[in-house]
């Protein structure tokens, strides 16, 4: 236990304290450059900018989830709900309240985030698989509200009738087409990631990791573990809702499937695939998932089997995830 805890501590430091060591600072600079230049190199490798945008969105959603899943130890299988609420909040604002992008994003984030904050106290006492079952069932409630509130949300067909509007500043406005929209998403991605990084490197984040490793000991030390789970759930919901809001703007459309329990499962497998004990793990997982989906859907109709098989292979042969394996190899 203590060896594993020490190893975990090492991995967290390796993943999150990016600026502390020379090598990692360099690594982060390269990573940032890759993201900043993506609209230039993506077409060169035969891809397109929107694919990069989608990677950012899935990565942000999964990294938000991973604060709870990987670092606090709460098995949430219901995060599609907060993703979808973010998307619907933004879409509904643009459709019914006028073309203010800043306001639309804010409303999406607040809708999803506050929903997670409200759900938190109901689930925070639970652990393990029961936590998973309750989060997934509560998530379905939001799905059915979106499906059944036909005249407001568009029902089963999804919400249409809104689109990305020009971004207005005090001094003018920008039309968000092509690469500009990518940078718009990258900007919010950076904000979301910074919040997560900041939380994880604060005493609060350390306590969350402690709750995952040994919640009983933390309780004896007087740390309110349940409240920690709640806070983690809420922050994670806000970040995932931000990703959902971006998703609505990318597609100019939101579907009830953005709230469906299967998407929640995809977010979890993205975290595990990349390595959920690692800060950037979900990003790697999202990149693999999105690219794979892009290729597989052009090759086969049986996309569900492909991803189902991926779930099994990852679980049976690759449970530490890609970055988990790499980190282990480097340290041992």
């Amino acid at each position: 236990m203590s060896v594993e805890a020490a190893e975990t501590r090492e991995r967290i430091r390796a993943g999150s304290n990016l600026a502390s060591r020379g090598g990692e600072r360099l690594g982060f600079a390269v990573f940032a450059a890759i993201l900043l230049l993506a609209p230039f190199w993506l077409p060169l490798v035969g891809s397109y900018t929107d694919l990069g945008t989608r990677v950012l969105i899935y990565a942000l959603a999964a990294m938000g989830l991973n604060l709870l899943l990987g670092f606090t130890g709460g098995l949430s299988f219901g995060h599609a709900a907060y993703f979808g609420l973010g998307a619907y909040g933004t879409g509904l604002m643009l459709r019914y309240a006028g073309p203010n992008m800043w306001l639309a994003v804010a409303v999406g984030v607040l809708l999803g985030g506050f929903a997670a904050t409200l759900v938190g106290p109901v689930v925070m006492r639970r652990r393990g698989i029961y936590f998973a079952m309750i989060t997934i069932a509560i998530g379905q409630m939001f799905y059915f509200i979106a499906v059944r509130w036909n005249n407001f949300t568009g029902g089963e067909d999804g919400l249409t009738g809104f689109q990305r509007e020009p971004l207005t500043f005090p001094g003018g406005s920008i039309v968000l087409n092509g690469p500009r929209f990518y940078y718009f998403v990258l900007f919010f991605f950076a904000i979301g990631v910074f919040v997560l990084w900041w939380v994880l490197n604060s005493p609060l984040g350390r306590a969350m990791v402690g709750a995952r490793e040994n919640s009983r000991r933390l309780e004896f030390l007087g740390v309110p573990v349940e409240r920690l789970t709640w806070i983690s759930f809420a922050i994670s919901g806000f970040v995932t809702a931000l990703a959902g809001s971006m998703s609505a703007l990318l597609n100019n459309f939101t579907s009830p499937l953005d709230l469906y329990w299967q998407l929640s499962g995809y977010f979890v497998i993205i975290c595990v695939l990349g390595g959920m004990r690692n800060f950037w793990g979900p990003f790697v997982g999202a990149a693999i998932y999105v690219v794979m989906q892009d290729y597989a859907s052009s090759l086969t109709k049986n996309w569900l089997s492909v991803i189902g098989l991926m779930f099994m292979l990852v679980v049976l042969f690759f449970p530490r995830g890609l970055l988990g394996v790499l980190a282990r190899r480097r340290s041992g």
Binding site: R126, I136, A137, M141, Q262, V268, N302, I307, V315
Partner: protein, 288 residues
């Protein structure tokens, strides 16, 4: 009034499907410590296998054989996929059955097609039993009877047979059961199969009422989770009761406010979780 009765009765029938599913899920949740996301997939499989078997061995043969066929596939899945994950982080078994659920849905769609299929039931079951209450058909009575027999058999098995005693003891303390010389791997496989057996049966009964679609599993499994949460984890009677309660509640809501008929299930769950976090009959302290 008649309409209300009609909707409530409809809800009761659907509640029986939920209850059968929830009983199986509950069994597996207890002894195998797995949330079987693939339960809906196995349920659909039971229905579709029966659909294929009916022309060969008739309705009654299919009713008996198809659940066992589904259970046999369940044993394969348990031995090959779930078993390596016992004792590991529960997250992994969740993800595994999740992946299996996706594959089962896709396989079902590939074999039998994405379109819904009608499931023929014997003619004499189709007639209404009463002129006033036209909705009280023979088939609905049949669903109630079969579910009652299946449930009674399950509880009798758990109460009186050696297998049942081992399962109950395993839920209380698996390590002690193992140290007394019971092969717990075999026990868990049998328990998993028992759960899938119930799912397969639910699949056939639901097929006769609602028809067959590849997504029937995905849409029936979530209310079954709710049934377990409402009834309380760790209590089979709770799961049974939870399934019936949410079924009837959804039915009654259909009469007054159809759009909310699904949402009401989750509202009941939320209320139960707030007022009585362990569920109606759940064990205190389980999963906390």
């Amino acid at each position: 009034m008649e309409l209300l009765l009609f909707d409530a009765f409809n809800g009761l029938i659907v509640g029986f499907f939920y209850a059968l599913m929830a009983l199986g899920l509950s069994l597996i949740l207890g002894l195998n410590s797995v949330i079987n996301f693939a339960h809906g997939g196995f349920m659909a499989l039971g229905g579709y296998l029966a659909f294929t078997l009916v022309p060969v061995i008739g309705f009654w043969g299919a009713l008996i054989l198809a659940p066992f066929a589904a259970a046999a596939l369940g044993i394969l899945a348990e031995r090959g996929l779930v078993r390596p994950l016992y004792g590991r982080d529960p997250l992994y078994s969740l993800l595994l059955t999740f992946g299996l659920a996706l594959i089962l849905e896709d396989v079902t769609r590939s074999i039998w097609g994405a379109q819904g299929l009608p499931f023929a039931i014997p003619n004499f079951l189709n007639h209404p039993l009463s002129n006033v209450y036209f909705f009280f058909t023979g088939y609905r009575l049949f669903v109630i009877i079969v579910t009652a027999i299946a449930t009674a058999t399950l509880f009798a098995t758990l109460r009186f047979t050696r297998l049942g005693i081992c399962i109950r003891a395993g839920n209380a303390d698996l390590e002690t059961v193992a140290s007394l010389g019971v092969n717990i791997y075999l026990l868990r496989a049998a328990n998993f199969a028992l759960g899938i057996l119930l799912a397969g049966l639910a699949g056939i009964l639901a097929a006769g009422q609602l028809g067959l679609t590849p997504t029937m599993g995905a849409s029936l499994i979530m209310p079954s989770f709710v049934a377990i949460i409402v009834g309380g984890a760790g209590s089979l009677i709770g799961s049974l009761l939870g399934g019936l309660i949410i079924g009837v509640a959804a039915g009654i809501t259909t009469a007054y406010f159809p759009a909310a008929s699904e949402v009401v299930i989750y509202l009941i769950m939320a209320v139960v979780l707030v007022i009585r976090p362990r569920g109606l009959l759940g064990q205190e302290g389980l999963f906390e």
